[in-house]
Every structure is written in C-alpha cells, then in structure tokens.
C-alpha cells in the first residue's frame, strides 16, 4: 500500500532514496526530499491531529510554517522528544518517529471530542461567566480539570542532551526569504561584492519557484534559473547562504535574530554538531522577501481533513509528487487557485469542479482550466461539507440552487496575505489596499520589503522588484551594483483576490483552526462589547495559537469589521510580535548552561584549598573556602576549631577575593577624601584607615581599608561582591563630577593574592619570610602598610585585622600567590596554627562586633545605624552622601541600630533573619537578627541585630521570635571580645 498517492513521476523528491518512518506507530515510506506532511499525504493520511478546544479531527491544511493543524511530536529517543512541530516543516529522515498529540485513546477515536458535542454550552469566553461557586472551587475543582484538558504536546521528561550554539554576524545586506524576489535581490547584492547573508526557513532555496512547472525566466525553465542563481551565490566569496534558517525577530538598528536548524533533518547527526544555531545578525541593509500566506475560506464545515489551501495542494503535487486526493473540488476566490486545479488535473486527479466565488472567472488561468476540460462554475458559494475523519462531499450553492459534489479533497484559494511580520516588528506601519489587503506604508530606515510581502505578485514583477532593491541596498552600503532583468514567459498573471468577509452561514465556520474560533464566536464577542480587534483576539483567543493566526488573522479582521460596521483599516491589525515562528529555549540560551551558565571565579589558592578538602561557598561569582574540616569533623566542629586556633595561636586565610583599587595621581588624596566619609587627606604614607563609602542617598554602600603607599598612590580595598560597583561609582565621580582632579583608578583585584595571617602569633609566623621590614608593633603598628619583599617576591604588607587579633595581610602577585601561601602555611603549621575559611572569619569578626556590608546592611541602613558615626571626618564640608544624612528620616529617632543580643538560654542559636519584638506576644517587629553564630570564645551565641533605638535599650530584654516561640534576649554591646583592643595592638 506504500505511497499509493505518489504521482508517476516528477517533483523534487529523490525517488531513488526511499525512507522509512512511522506515524502513531504505523510504519510508512517516503522519499528523500519529503516533509513529514508530504510523506503522510503520499500514503493517503490526512487525519493528523485534533483541535485544541473541541478536539475536532483535523488534517494538513498548508505546506509551510503557517500550518495550524498538523502539529506532531517527534521522538528521537533519549530526551530528544519534541512537541508541537509542524509536519509541514519536519523533513523526513530514515527512521523518523512521529506521533499525533492531544488525543486519547486514539487519533481516530478521541474521547475529548465530547467537548464538540457540548459546544453550545461552551461559547467563546464561557469560562469567564461560570465556575464562580462555590468560592475557591475554581482552583481546587474546575481549574485542574481544565488544565488537564488543555495543552497540546508533552514536555520532554529528561534534560535535553543536544547542544545549542550562538554567533554574532555582520553583513552589508541581509536577505530574508529565498523565493524569486529574495533570490533576485541576493543576486544583485552579492554581485556587487557586498557582504551578503541569505536565509530561508525552507530546506531548499527557491520559494514558489520550487512548485513552478511551466514558467521560463530569461529563456530557461524556472528550475534552471534557480540552479544558476544558487551557483552564483555559492561562488560569491562574501556571501553566506543559510537554509533551514528562520528570521524570527527584528530588533533595534537592524539587528535580526535567525534560527538555523542544523541537525533535525539528519538521521544520524555528527555529535559535534549543535542541534540549532542562533545568529544575531547586524545588517547595514535588510531586505525582507517573506512572501505571502494564502487565506482559507470561511464556510460551514471548512475544517475537515482533506480540505486544504490551494497553494499547498499545488506545492504537494508539483514539488513533492503527491496526489492529495482522488476527486477534488477547488473553491476559488482568485485566479491563483486555478494553478492547483491545473496541477491536480495534470497529475491525474479528477477535478470535479472549480467553484469560483466570483461572479465571473475571466482570467488567463480560468481559461486554461476550461481548455483542460475542468468544469468551472462562477458565482458559487460553499454551503457546507460532509465527512467525519475526511471530507466526503462538498455542497455548493449557486443562484440556481445547491449542488452536492462528492470529493475527498477540497482546495481553498481565498487570496494571499502579504507577510508583514518583520516589517511590523521593525515598526513599519501598513496601509490597507482594497485589492490586496494590508501592505507596507511607512518606510523603515535600512529595511526594504520586496515581492509578495509588499503586495507585488506575478513572477516577472517579483524578480524585477527584488533585483532593483538588492542593487539599491548594496549601493547604499557603498558598493557599485546594478540589478539584472529577465524576460519571463508562461507565467500567467493571476488577479489577486481582495480579502472578503464571509456571509453569515449556518453551522460552524472556523476562522482559527487550532483554537477552534468560529465566525459566530467573533460576532458574539462584538455583541458583548469587545469591539477593538485586540479585545476580540483576547476574548475569543483567535490568532493566539501556536501559528499566531498566520492563516486566520485577516479573515477574523474582516468578520469583526463587518460585525461592527467599520472599515477594515479602522479596526486595524493586531500587533505582530517576535518570534515569527516559535524558537527553542535551547537556542536562545546557547552554551550558557551547566558550568557555563555563569563564570566561576577562583583564587590562586583555590586548588590548594580544594586539595585540603575545603568546603566552598558562592560569594558573588567567587568560590570561597568556607571551612577546612579535618577527618571526622563536621562543619560546626571544624569552624569552632578554626576560631579557637586563631584566638589562641594563628590562622591563615585566603582574602584574595577582596576588591582592590589602585588610586594614583596628584589629587588621589583629595578624591578619596570626597568619596569616603573619613578624613583621608591627612593619612600618612605607610598608614591605613578603615573607611566607609555611602551612596549619594546616604545609605552605606561599602567599607574597606584605604592604605596610602606614597603621596600620590593609594591601595583601596572593597567588599568581595562590591568591587565592580565601587569602581564604577568612583569612575563616575572622577570622570563626570570632578574631571579637574588628576586621579586615575585601576582595578588590581586580580593582580594581588591576599594571604591573611591572624592571631597572637601572626607576627612570629611571618617574620622570617618578610625582608627589610621591622615588624615590631612600634615600627609597624596596627593599620600600617609597607611595600616589601615576602618570600623573595614583591609584596604589599598590611598590618590589619578583621578578627580582633594581631593581623597581617600579605599581598603578592597572583601568580606568586600559591608559592608564598605554601611557605606561610609551613610557618603557621609549625606554630600549631590552622587555615580557616569564611565561616570562621564571620564568627571572629562578629565576636569583635565588626560589620559586613550586605549582612548587617540591606540598602536602608545608615552609618549611624551601624554605630560607625565615629568614622565620619568631623571637619569635612562634603563627601558622597553627606547631604542626605540630614534628611528628616535619616536623622529621626526610632531607627534600627546595630546591637548585640545575649540570649537567656546560652544553648540556643537564633537564625539570621529572625524578627525581634519588644514583648513575647507582639506582632510588630522592632528589629531583626542580622548575624548569629555559635561562639566557643564567648560561650554562647554571638548575635548581631538591628533594633529600633537599640543603643538606648542597652540591658533591656527583647524577644527573638524563633520558629519554636519567642526567646528572651538582653540587648548588649556588639563588641564581645577585647573591647579595649589590647589584643589587637599587642
């Protein structure tokens, strides 16, 4: 039974290469060059899907991306199951497995079709009018039922194993669409030497030429002209040809998004190849040759399998060598449908009648049909059709009465709608032409529409239009170009049919096939006051299916215009939005998946820490060692040990992720004085200061250490996650507010590895490694900096502490970081010290009451809230954020201030983010916990909190709202270790 509906010969399929495939488990055969749709038709299969709302049987309507019905699932196995693909675009390959969707138990018998019987109860928008009672029943009862019924295909259930890549490209002329107009344009542009990219969504270039049987171009058959043109384009050195590539979106300034389907058409693709490639093309000139889409006719029963677009039928017969039926009726509203009739006739399909809806059918094509002996009847109307899973007969009305014609194929030629999608996305505004419909009106800089998509039909006209536009575009891009011209013969012009609204017939006449929107639904919507086309669309869902109304929008518009008695142009088109056809998430995400989703930044010491079995945490984009558990230790135990070691002996810490900015120039000190709240101008070379940076709105943005290396050179640190923000802020002020200052900022975050050595024996630990610097507390007091040699390499040595112990931060070149670290580690180990991670660092600094911007602050916290007001340079006239500090609310009483909390029960540990109330039962918070850690040193939880008027509440009892109930806590000073700083300066 295989391929009973193939023509004897002809078509562009390769009859020497049969391919096996299956549909719903049934094995069939097609040929190389087939689409799934053409192969199914060749096997006599029309029923391919069920509609969304009524589950009505549906067949293949079209031959391209406008197809609303033939949506299938393609299963390549192993996570490669793709739903909602159009059978008209799926290229056949050997072993292709396809399934129909949205039906149960089977395509031929679908239980969901009961909704078709209930249709009278389900008018458009019915769901807005019911399911109201009982309250809450919607989400619990009705909605789950509706959700189960809705939806089309199934999502894959495992991760997509395929690769997707992206690339940027630039060209002088981008030609979108490789039909006659596009190819003529590309030929002209490429001939000029311009950089040209030509893309077409089809597997083969040629567009309508691929289904052209008799026309001759420049004295040769169209097919030969096509071969010659492609050969020329392939030979052009600066020209790129992209088949299977859809231009899905137009973005600002001639940036066009293309999707290239690389492997879906291959039976066994090379694993190195991506499944799809996203192109982002920036083109000097864009030529849109997107063609046009044929309109279905709107009449009762117009949705049965076997009812197809005339142009599609012609394409299946001529291009694919398929006979889509045995006995056909052609319903024509314009001459072009006659081409289908002639093609069918030539292929041996009986054409029972061409029912021309016009009063007269005079053109060349009707005459050719008559000459071929095809019965042509004008003044016809299609009254209805019969047939359940396939059309059986067509009832045609004439002035004389009606006639029932047996047919298993009905071709609809409702005229052609120019494809305005990209033009409209580019903000072109169309006008309405009474004979063609909507066509481009306003010019778009750098974009030209050619051929059918601007209403130019007829082969000769399209070629001339394209050639002229291609040459013009190349010339605008700066190349010498000239358009060729070709004599065209045997391409009978076909009078174009203006879009017409159908008369109100009885029965359901479908407009949007996929969403089951009928002419009656549209009229009902207008009666209910939805008169704007956008309202009608949203209320009836017409044009909102996966085809986005490519075949239905213009018909819907006509019906609405008629119903509200307004001219079509007044009702207007709905907005065209990207993508033109659906684009896979994979392609849009590209390689940014898994580890490449976001860069992971690591320090020079990372590998060493990993080898030591460190646990890591994400801080911004950095991986930081959180703690270094020893055998048998959990994190809790390890952190306690690390803290104890730092307090008692010495600890080693990788602080390399700190942001670092080198501030250089005559006015460096003046600049920093203006940026930070502190007095820094008077900072002596060799000294450091803890400095706080505000935003102009007065809230704390960052803090860090400002070290003065020399009169005109500073080394400034920032928080790990704040480095870019702080540098950007500083650049903004230096470039735009104070350009008169002679100061230059350089990020040196990555230049220096920072090795922190902290603890009572820190000095002893590093002493032997540091050359020519007296480390004594007199010579190098806390908050000092020296340039020197450590372990024989250039270093910046800071005497600073974030633990409350004696501390040093050794900055050495990052490439030296590991070597120096290993030598310091030897010393630290020798003294019984330990390496510690960020968790211990947090505990140690909290015990000392040091804040972390981003932990204690949240963008609404002032420097006074943190109790850091002392840092503000008293005599300073101005600094960034100063003015805001005097705003009423920032100076008001009742602000949340940083305090410590001592829980009654020393064994309890609150969570960060817990709320604090004045009384156990209060429902309004007076504050919240910002930091909380267990602390062996203090012997209870170290808790920092922001509490309203906190500093005035010292000693008061407040309540931390723990998950298990309120817990009493005494407000205390956040500094719990060495308040007088004896250890620090020891």
């Amino acid at each position: 039974m295989s391929q009973r509906f193939r023509t004897a010969a002809g078509g562009r399929i390769d009859r020497a290469r049969p391919l096996g495939f299956s549909f719903d488990g049934r094995g069939m055969e097609g040929f190389a060059g087939d689409t799934l749709a053409s192969a199914l038709l060749a096997n006599g299969v029309h029923l391919v899907g069920r509609s969304f709302k009524y589950h009505r049987p549906r067949g293949i309507l079209a031959a391209g991306s406008e197809e609303p019905n033939a949506l299938v699932e393609i299963d390549r196995g192993a996570g490669r199951r793709t739903p909602n693909l159009r059978a008209t675009q799926v290229e056949l390959h050997d072993g292709l497995v396809a399934r129909s969707q949205n039906r149960w138990p089977s395509l031929a018998f679908d239980a969901g079709a009961v909704s078709d019987r209930l249709a009278p109860l389900l008018p458009t928008g019915f769901y807005y009018k019911t399911f109201l009672w009982p309250p809450r029943a919607w989400a619990r009862l009705y909605e789950p039922l509706i959700r189960r019924a809705a939806g089309l295909g199934r999502a894959p259930d495992t991760a997509d194993p395929d690769r997707y890549v992206q690339c940027y490209a630039h060209c002088d002329v981008l030609v979108i669409g490789a039909g006659p107009a596009g190819l003529a344009a590309a030929r002209a542009a490429a001939g000029s030497g311009a950089r040209v990219i030509v893309c077409d969504e089809g597997a083969e270039f040629g567009g309508s030429l691929l289904a052209e049987e008799r026309a001759r171009i420049g004295g040769v058959p169209a097919a030969e002209w096509l071969r010659d043109t492609l050969a020329r384009l392939e030979a052009a050195p600066e020209t790129v040809l992209l088949a299977r590539t859809t231009a899905f979106g137009y973005y600002a300034q001639n940036m066009v998004g293309l999707i290239e389907r690389v492997t879906d058409h291959l039976a066994a693709p090379d694993p190195a190849l991506p499944r799809e490639r996203l192109w982002q093309v920036r083109a000097r000139e864009v030529i849109v040759a997107a063609g046009s889409i044929e309109r279905p006719l709107v009449f009762p029963g117009n949705d049965r399998p076997g009812i197809m677009l005339a142009g599609a039928v012609q394409s299946y017969v001529v291009r694919y060598g398929v006979r889509p039926g045995r006995r056909a009726v052609v319903a024509a509203e314009g001459d072009s449908a006659y081409r289908a009739a002639l093609a069918l006739h030539a292929a041996g399909v009986e054409v029972a009648m061409v029912a021309d809806l016009r009063d007269a059918a005079e053109g060349a094509l009707p005459q050719m049909a008559r000459d071929a002996g095809i019965p042509v009847r004008s003044g016809a109307t299609i009254v209805g059709t019969a047939g359940r899973l396939r059309v059986r007969s067509v009832t045609i009305g004439f002035s004389g009465g009606r006639e029932r014609v047996a047919a298993d194929l009905l071709c609809m030629g409702g005229g052609w709608t120019p494809s305005l999608h990209l033009y409209s996305q580019a903000r072109g505004r169309p006008r309405h032409d009474p004979t063609i419909g909507f066509v481009p009106r306003t010019p778009v800089p750098g974009l030209t529409c050619v051929g059918a998509c601007r209403g130019v039909f007829g082969l000769a006209e399209m070629l001339a239009d394209g050639a002229q536009a291609g040459a013009a575009a190349a010339m605008r891009a700066g190349f010498a170009a000239s358009g060729e011209s070709w004599a065209v013969e045997d391409a009978p012009s076909c009078e174009c049919a203006p879009p017409r609204a159908p008369g109100p017939g009885s029965g359901r006449a479908f407009v949007d096939f996929q969403n089951d929107v009928t002419a009656k639904d549209l009229r009902l919507a207008t009666r209910e006051g939805f008169r704007s086309i956008e309202h009608v669309k949203r209320y009836t869902t017409t044009g909102m299916a996966t085809d986005q109304g490519k075949t239905s929008n213009v018909n819907a518009l006509g019906i609405v215009a008629q119903a509200v008695a307004a001219p079509v142009e007044a009702v207007g088109l709905t907005t065209f939005r990207p993508p033109y056809t659906p684009v896979s998430f994979g392609a849009l995400a590209g390689v940014a998946r898994g580890a490449l989703f976001d860069p992971v930044r690591t320090t020079a010491i990372h590998g060493w820490a990993a080898a030591q079995g460190a646990l890591f945490e994400d801080v911004g984009a950095w991986k930081r060692a959180r703690c270094f558990p020893r055998a048998g230790e959990d994190m809790h135990v390890a952190v306690a040990r690390e803290c104890r070691t730092v307090r008692e002996t010495v600890g080693l810490f990788d602080a390399s992720t700190l942001g670092k900015i080198e501030v250089v120039g005559r006015d460096a000190a003046v600049f920093l004085e203006r940026m930070y709240v502190n007095a820094l101008a008077n900072l002596a070379p060799g000294r450091c200061r803890y400095a706080v940076l505000l935003g102009e709105s007065g809230f704390v943005r960052d803090d860090g250490i400002v070290g003065r290396l020399s009169a005109d050179r500073f080394h400034v640190t920032t928080g790990t996650g704040n480095a870019a923000l702080v540098l950007g802020l500083m650049e903004d002020y230096s470039q735009t507010e104070w350009p008169e200052l002679q100061v230059w900022l350089t990020s040196v975050t990555e230049q220096w590895a920072v090795i922190a050595v902290q603890g009572p024996r820190a000095r002893e630990a590093i002493a032997p490694l540091v050359e020519d610097v007296d480390l004594s507390r007199q010579a190098l007091p806390h908050m000092s900096v020296r340039s020197c040699q450590v372990c024989g390499v250039a270093a910046r040595l800071f005497a600073v502490s974030f633990t409350g112990e004696i501390g040093f931060e050794i900055n050495v070149g990052a490439d030296h970081g590991l070597a120096v670290w290993e030598q310091v580690w030897e010393r630290v180990q020798g003294l019984g010290g330990a390496v510690y991670g960020t968790e211990a660092m947090h505990v140690l600094r909290a015990e000392k009451g040091y804040v972390i911007v981003g932990q204690e602050t949240d963008g609404t916290v002032t420097i006074d809230d943190l109790g850091l007001g002392w840092a503000i340079g008293r005599k300073k006239q101005d600094f960034v954020g100063k003015r805001s500090l005097s705003r009423p609310d920032l100076a008001a009483a009742g602000r949340r201030q940083l305090v410590g909390l001592a829980l009654d029960d020393a064994s309890r540990l609150p969570e960060e983010g817990m709320q604090v109330t004045a009384a156990a039962q209060d429902r309004t918070a007076i504050g919240h916990v910002t930091s909380a850690y267990g602390s062996g040193t203090v012997g209870r939880a170290v808790v920092m909190a922001l509490v309203a008027d906190g500093r005035a509440r010292m000693g008061e009892i407040v309540f931390v709202q723990m998950t298990a109930g309120a817990m009493a806590a005494r407000v205390c000073d956040p500094v719990l270790v060495d308040p007088e700083g004896a250890r620090l300066h020891g």
Binding site: Y168, Y251, A252, Q253, M255, Q280, R282, R427, E696, S697, G728, E731, D732, Q735, T736, E737, P739, Q877, D878, K882, R883, S884, R887, P888
Partner: protein, 85 residues
C-alpha cells in the same frame, strides 16, 4: 541589541556598555546649601521624556569612558553626540 555611538570607539554593541541615566544632572557644588526638596530633586526627579532623551552611557567594556548621547526613547534611534560628562 542597541548599537551605541561611542565618541571614542564608534558605534558599538549594547552589551559593552552600562547605562548612566539622564544626562546633565550635575552634583551641586555645595549640597549643604540645598533644602531637602531641592536635594531630593537632584537625587530622584527625572524628566523621563517620551521621545528625545539626553542620557549617559559608560563604555565599560570598551574605552571605559562616560559620554552623553541623545536617544529617542520610542524608536531607540540615537541622535547627535554631546560633549562632556
């Protein structure tokens, strides 16, 4: 992706830039001289026009300079260059 005219590097893709908001909002020489309303206006009030907008961009991943341009906020088209910060 916008194509932004950098005065030093020429037209360059948007992802090399960071947006700097409305242009010509200079920090007052002496903020302490402003009352709260005037200071708030400097901090927060913007003209936010529908159409021509004088704005700042920084070519962060290029020459790293701040500059001003005029862009139409409806069409995204850039007009002439402006000098200074």
């Amino acid at each position: 992706m916008l194509l932004i005219p950098c005065p030093f590097c020429g037209p360059r893709p948007e992802i090399e830039f960071v947006y700097g908001g409305e242009a010509h909002i200079a920090r007052p020489a002496d903020p302490s001289a402003l009352d709260d309303a005037a200071w708030a206006a400097f901090l927060h009030t913007r003209s936010n026009p529908r159409g021509r907008h004088a704005e700042r961009w920084r070519h962060l991943h290029g020459c790293a300079r701040f500059f001003n341009v005029v862009r139409d906020t409806v069409t995204d088209r850039f007009a002439e260059h402006e000098a200074g910060g």
